[in-house]
Amino acid sequence: MTEGDASSLSGASRPRLPRGVRLKHDDIRNEWLLLAPERVLKTNAIAVEILKRCTGEKSLDAIVDDLASTFTAERSRVDNDVRALLTELATKRLVDL
């Protein structure tokens, strides 16, 4: 993935997990997992916070604003993290933009 791909994402797009991709807390292993066709992906705390907000209702910009204020983080850094994760997952068709 190049930086160009991530920065070309529109801030107005409304990312969502498509049917067939589920974020699940596994109580037995005590960890968050992203379940997808033939895939089980471990999901770190930052990714979980991003993916929980990918419901198709909020725009990418609104998600970044929300995360930056909730975690009192620098907006540009959050923006980079969100774009990098969503671009990577979209390439694998695990998120719809």
Partner: protein, 380 residues
């Protein structure tokens, strides 16, 4: 990165039935198929799914045979969904009606994997041993996408379709699949029986691999291509099952629990049945699961090999089939002292002087019974 807690299984392959209207000559089911009267009943499967969730299973693969041959399929899917299991229906598409697919979607099914035999209808029907199968599969794909379910297309590659590997990826895109599996034939069970008719030449296999790898790049973001390379042509063996009894287990229609679908071909392994033991007991204590766990069982060249944690010595079943001893290195590995066996098989695959022979189609029972079965399915 994949979740890897080796003490707990991640996936359960539930072979709900061995009944199937198709006769694919590479079927992964064993040569000796379970008849309908030996199949677990609805209550038993539901108990197995509950035990699976408790032992840590995350993904439930509902397979067969053709799982739509089971009249309780919707009830089983609903039970899996109630348990929070990610459910994947692995189907031929034959027997899937629009009504059934919409009921499965409502019951909480997560994903559908549909097999295709070829991109060319006549060839596809010939490979499946079922006239009209191709057309019905296209229809089934539309039922799946119209119900809003994500679709994966699975295509098994062999001599009769190897030149159309790329065309099958393109067909998957047209059918609305988000993912496609291009899997070169694995030679177990029916595949081993038909090996001489299925094995492509090295040139054909390599051309197909190149074509599909190029599509991976050009179709990135459109469709995910999972590519299973032909292991006979490889330098190192595949990491079969990600290691014996490390991630998945397989329950046969009659309730026998196997570390992989082909494990029964290794003589001397003791398999336990869900009628006698819980899945937790079977996973942790059954002799078959512990037979090749870890690396204590390994011989040279695997024992001292730096790749033993990468490929686990390859496939135990293949080692047994081709060398007569399951603890040997998978002879696909160029370091195996038995590698010449694989080279001989490949050399035979290049020999086109043999007249074409008909496939030994995968069949449950003699032909009259099979015909009756087809009527059963189409009457649904």
């Amino acid at each position: 990165m994949n979740a890897a807690d080796p003490s707990r299984p991640v996936g359960l392959l539930a072979e709900l039935t061995h009944r199937c209207p198709l006769g694919c000559p590479y079927c992964s089911n064993p040569l000796e198929l379970d008849p309908r009267q030996h199949e677990l009943d609805t209550a038993s499967w539901k108990r197995v799914f509950s035990e699976a969730a408790a032992v840590g299973i995350l993904q439930l693969h509902l397979s067969g045979g053709e799982p739509a041959s089971r009249r309780d399929l919707v009830e089983l899917v609903a039970h899996g969904a109630k348990l929070g299991l990610y459910s994947n229906l692995i189907t031929s598409g034959i027997g899937l009606t629009q009504m059934l697919v919409s009921k499965l979607a409502e019951a909480g099914l997560d994903h559908v994997q549909l097999s295709i035999q070829d991109s060319e209808p006549r060839s596809a029907d010939h490979i499946a041993g079922y006239k009209g199968a191709f057309a019905r599969k296209l229809e089934a794909a539309s039922f799946v996408t119209e119900a809003g379910l994500p679709l994966t297309v699975n295509a098994v590659i062999h001599r009769a379709n190897v030149r159309r590997a790329g065309a099958m990826v393109e067909l998957a895109v047209r059918l609305g699949a988000r993912r496609v599996e291009i899997a070169h034939t694995q030679y177990y069970g029916w595949g081993a029986k038909n090996r001489g008719l299925l094995m492509p030449s090295r040139e054909e296999a390599e051309a197909a691999i190149g074509e599909v790898e190029a599509l991976k790049t050009s179709l990135s973001g459109t469709i995910v291509i999972d590519h299973v390379a032909p292991d006979y042509h490889a330098r190192y063996p595949k990491p079969c099952m990600s290691g014996w009894a490390r991630r998945t287990l397989n329950v046969t229609p009659s309730g026998k629990v196997l570390p992989c679908h082909a494990a029964e071909l290794i003589p001397g392994l003791e398999f336990w049945n869900v009628a006698d033991h819980s899945l937790d007991e079977i996973w942790n204590h059954s002799p078959a699961f512990n037979a090749f766990r870890g690396d204590d069982w390994m011989r040279e060249p695997c024992r001292s090999c730096s790749r033993k944690t990468i490929d686990f010595g390859g496939c135990r079943c293949q080692a047994f089939m081709l060398t007569g001893e399951a603890r040997n290195a998978d002879p696909v590995c160029h370091l195996s002292p038995h590698h010449h066996v694989v080279e001989t098989i490949l050399a035979e695959a290049r020999d086109d002087t043999h007249p074409p022979q008909p496939y030994a189609y995968r069949r449950l029972r003699p032909s009259t019974a099979v015909r009756r079965e087809r009527l059963d399915i189409s009457a649904d």
